[in-house]
Amino acid sequence: MELSTAILLTIPLAPLVGCLLAGFFGKFIGRAGAHSVTILGLLVACGLSFYVLYQITMGGAPVYNHNLYTWFEIGKFSASVGFLIDRLTAMMMVVVTFVSLLVHVYTIGYMADDPGYQRFFSYISLFTFSMLMLVMSNNFMQLFFGWEAVGLVSYLLIGFWYKRPTAIFANLKAFLVNRVGDFGFLLGISAVLYFLGTLDYATAFAGADSLVGKTLTITQGMHWDAPTVICVLLFIGAMGKSAQVPLHVWLPDSMEGPTPISALIHAATMVTAGIFMVARMSPLYELSGSALSFVMVIGATGALFTGLIGIVQNDIKRVVAYSTLSQLGYMTVALGVSAYSGAVYHLMTHAFFKALLFLGAGSVIIAMHHEQDMRYMGGLRKYMPITWITMWIGSLALCGVPFFSGFYSKDAIIEAVGESHRWGAHYAYFCVMAGALVTALYTFRQMYLTFHGKERFTVKAHHGHGHDAHHDDHHDDHGHHEPGVLEHAPTESPWVVTLPLVLLAIPSLLVGIFTVGPMLFGGWFGQAIHVDEANNVLGEMAGDFHGAMAMALHGFTQLPFFLVLTGFAIQTYIYLFNPALAGRIKSALKPLWTVLDRKYWVDDVYFAVFARGGVKLGRLFWKAGDAAVIDGAMVNGSASLVQKIAAAMRRLQSGYLYHYAFAMILGLILLLGGFWLVGH
């Protein structure tokens, strides 16, 4: 049975209605009203998304691809708003709405004392709407709409605490860096329209083969291969949105936003839009080995080098942020070796365990009264057991320990890269393999610093009455207290916070075992993802796949597992048995530490060249071009020229008779002289 349009339309519109109600009538409906309407909207969207997934996989519903209305139609060109619902979309819808729903619930606890409570719910519901429009789109125009709309919400949410200078710097930076990516993306869409004559996915993919052999003339005698141009340009968009090197700089700064959105937007969903997009465009990417090599090298570089930065971070959220950058690199590498299902599969498992890690970090931050520096934590496991255990589950999944969901997706990616013969695959293989060690290093360091070892904070003794009532949780006042001194002992977070942790820990632990067979090796995505026979590394690996159990047991004998074990052993020794060693290593490797701490100076260079340089260039253009040449020389110059001539002429009218008489005589002589000359 075909999916009904009404149901599909309800899925994005329910969160939008929630957003509008909470946003415009927030004062009227109050805090409880705001979270009730938005959560209700998300419940509807999430429930219907599960229904759609069920219908598509089990219910035998055919792929839905219809336009809702025409956005523009000019001659043969047109763009519409419409939905394409296949297995890839259905899976994304479930991931987005499920994580978003849990984040909504979590927010009730996390933002409990924030004055912008209603506004926050409005934003995250608007985000859910935008993200759904992105993944459900059946054409490039709407994709771009969703793409930029999630960017807008990300901008609003990073700058949610708009009084903080760092937050409003970070949101501007995020928007602009994303715009650099979108610049490429828009040109990529233009190239699609130019070569394929359509913005509709199905039509474009059906005609994709016609691209082979076509070229784009760049200059005389220089022709670029059409599929490569299209795919590289579109991927530049993905580099912005999915924070790939060298457009990754905005993501760590985005941690200025409240933690729930770090989990939802900057880990689980929005940043994976680029991965989703490339997977969606697989019929185009399969035409260009060069573009895929480019994708792979960019992804591999990010997977290793951004992970390294994570090792030296002290802010609990920043560790998770760099880990996200690194994991996005893994997904991108998978795309680059044509293992699209592997990338999307890692996207899904990552959404669960990374949202879990972020929300867990947020739970720790609540307990620490908005202290985020891990140097003032330690030993928290006995205060907050639920957070502790769930975060361990998330961490083991992140490191890819066999049986955890992350293992299935990550191990498959590493192996797929090893199988690939694409140009640059050796480099990529080294990066993803070394990345496994790096992942273990930063993850276990974070877990030990936070939950284990000695407590590195003190709890203020209570003096007198009334102090208990003083609940210093206003986020806007963040950072005014003495580091490492708490008003109260840390406690486990309320149930609205821990419930989402538990609900995310379950799939982080189990989803791999149950889904790896069909989704990774069983061609579950069907027609949604297209892989050329020659490039089908996952297909080759499928021959060796004998069930999830066997794969996990085999995983214990493989190099990635030993690398994780090595990382675990190193960090266990340092942080549980010999904490002073960390400082000694740091001073021994000071230059290396500086390189990582300065983030390879990428941010500094960008700021100096693009931000300061741009302003300098603008000033030069303004002062030299507009003010000096156009206004100074041309406009006011011609005006003052007229004035000067007039002034000179005025001097002639002196009013003295003898001046005039003299002029007349002079004129007469000249005239007569002239006649005399002509006469001769």
């Binding site: 708009y162 610049f183 040109l187 206004d631």
Partner: protein, 502 residues
């Protein structure tokens, strides 16, 4: 009534200005209400254009024709196509908002201010209706007078410099157009635009005429390098003057290209299209950088107007390349439509931006960005609108600002990827200058104690901004009705581009 719908639209506000003026300075409230009544009535009448203009009928409709100056064969000839209809609706819509926006703000001689605004409205509608070149010229020049008065009387401290610069700049441009028109009259014996379009002209003649028209309209748009009057005029103009200037008057430049340059000098225009395209791209990139470093909000938005209008000229002239070089009529239509949608959209977005700056100025009496900061703390509803319009100005999909730019970039890529590359640069630089301003004005903690005393927007201001917001979103979410309205006219124009006159 429908036989003289266009005349009614032109003269209703002009005649309606008389009682407003007669209300005198003693009865400002009466003058305001009368002005609002006239503006609303004109808007209501203009709405009749929608059912009266038949989308599948002839291109020029609702025509009126009377001999005006018999000795010169000048006609009072009016007619509209889909593009004119869209621009007239924009004009009548914006005028209401300008009248409401000026309500309590203009305390000095409000009756004269309102009357000037209404006269200006009528004259601008006249420009969009005229089918006789001389009649067009008369409206085109006459419209300078009320604007001159608006800036000169209610303007800022440097208003004299600004008005003279504004007047001489535009007058210098149009005087060349007048010479061109006289030449054409001598050759054809008429000022009728339809006849002039069919007039065969040699390449040399076309070249001279093309540059005469280019000067007139390039100043109006304005294009680089004749844009420097605009920032000065905007800075000195009262809010309402800025809104009308940006929202409607600049469009007359783009409209002029369609009515004069394209039909009368198609071959010269095609030959010099690369020049105009390069100037348009300079407007996008160079002016984008200049806008980035402005300290005055109005100047910043004025420069951003120049950059956005670059897409209008780009869209129009890219169509030449597409038709003549590639024979791609559909892509040419895409570019031309993009230019037209950009004109309408820029009307809403720039009008809204200037209204927002007016709201801030009324409270703090400064337009310097550095004097603000943290406005969102005291004016959250204002902040909502400000961010919305800033996003529209940055071309965010879902707002009107995206539609035209998107279409022009798509069409440009078909002509030459390099053109699209430079045009698409607006995504970065446009967002940079707009959002950097938003960061410094809206976000952050309050540093200036006067900002802390700023009051949230009142009902009247909310109405104005909400009306703009509705238009910006409606056009961004569903542009097809507007495109459909103009489709026939654009198709006709693109057909004309293909016809060689030599």
């Amino acid at each position: 009534m429908f036989n003289h719908l266009l005349s009614l639209l032109i003269w209703l506000p002009v005649v309606g200005a008389v009682p407003v003026l007669l209300a005198g300075s003693g009865r400002p409230s009466l003058a305001r209400w009368l002005a609002l009544a006239v503006a609303v009535l004109t808007f209501a009448v203009s709405l009749f254009l929608i059912p009266q203009y038949h989308l599948d009928g002839a291109v020029m409709q609702l025509g009126e024709d009377h001999l005006w100056i018999a000795s010169l064969g000048v006609h009072y000839g009016l007619a509209v196509d889909g593009i004119s209809v869209a621009l007239i609706l924009l004009t009548t819509f914006v005028t209401i908002l300008v009248v409401v926006g000026a309500w309590e703000v203009i305390q000095d001689k409000p009756h004269q201010y309102m009357a000037a605004m209404l006269v200006l409205e009528g004259l601008m509608i006249g420009v969009f209706c005229a089918t006789d070149a001389l009649l067009f010229y008369v409206f085109f020049e006459a419209m300078l007078i009320p604007m001159f008065i608006l800036i000169g009387i209610w303007g800022g401290p440097r208003r004299v410099y600004a008005t003279i610069k504004f007047f001489i700049y535009t007058f210098l441009g149009s005087i060349f157009m007048l010479i061109g028109l006289i030449y054409l009259y001598q050759k054809a014996g008429t000022f009728d635009l339809h006849t002039l379009a069919a007039l065969p002209l040699s390449m040399t003649e076309q070249t001279w005429l093309f540059f005469a028209f280019l000067l007139a309209f390039a100043v109006k748009v304005p294009m680089v390098p004749v844009h420097t009057w605009l920032p000065d005029a905007h800075v000195e103009a009262p809010t309402g003057g800025s809104v009308v200037l940006a929202a409607v008057m600049l469009k007359i430049g783009g409209y002029g290209f369609l009515r004069f340059s394209l039909p009368i000098t198609p071959d010269a225009a095609a030959h010099f299209a690369p020049l105009v395209i390069v100037l348009s791209l300079i407007a996008v990139v160079y002016i984008g950088y200049v806008a980035l470093v402005q300290d005055d909000m109005k100047k910043l938005v004025a420069y951003s107007s120049v950059a956005h209008m670059g897409f209008v000229t780009l869209g129009i002239f890219i169509a030449f390349m597409l038709v003549r070089d590639a024979g791609n009529l559909d892509a040419a239509k895409l570019g031309m439509q993009g230019a037209m949608v950009q004109m309408i959209s820029h009307g809403f977005v720039s009008g809204a931006m200037f209204s927002c700056i007016g709201v801030l100025y009324d409270r703090l009496h400064t337009r310097q960005i550095k004097d603000y900061g943290g406005v969102i703390n005291v004016m959250p509803w204002f902040g909502f609108f400000y961010v919305l319009f800033a996003m529209a100005n940055s071309g965010l999909p879902g707002t009107s600002g995206f539609v035209g730019e998107f279409m022009v970039v798509l069409a440009s890529f078909t002509a030459n990827p390099w053109i699209a590359l430079f045009a698409a640069f607006t995504l970065i630089i446009g967002a940079a200058y707009t959002l950097w301003m938003v960061k410094r004005v809206l976000w952050g903690d309050i540093t200036n104690p006067h900002v802390a005393e700023m009051k949230e927007i009142n009902g009247r201001e909310t109405f104005v901004l909400a009306a703009f917001a509705a238009a910006v979103l409606a056009l961004g979410i569903w542009p097809q009705p507007l495109i459909h309205l103009m489709d026939h006219s654009v198709a006709q124009l693109v057909q004309q581009l293909a016809v060689h006159k030599i």
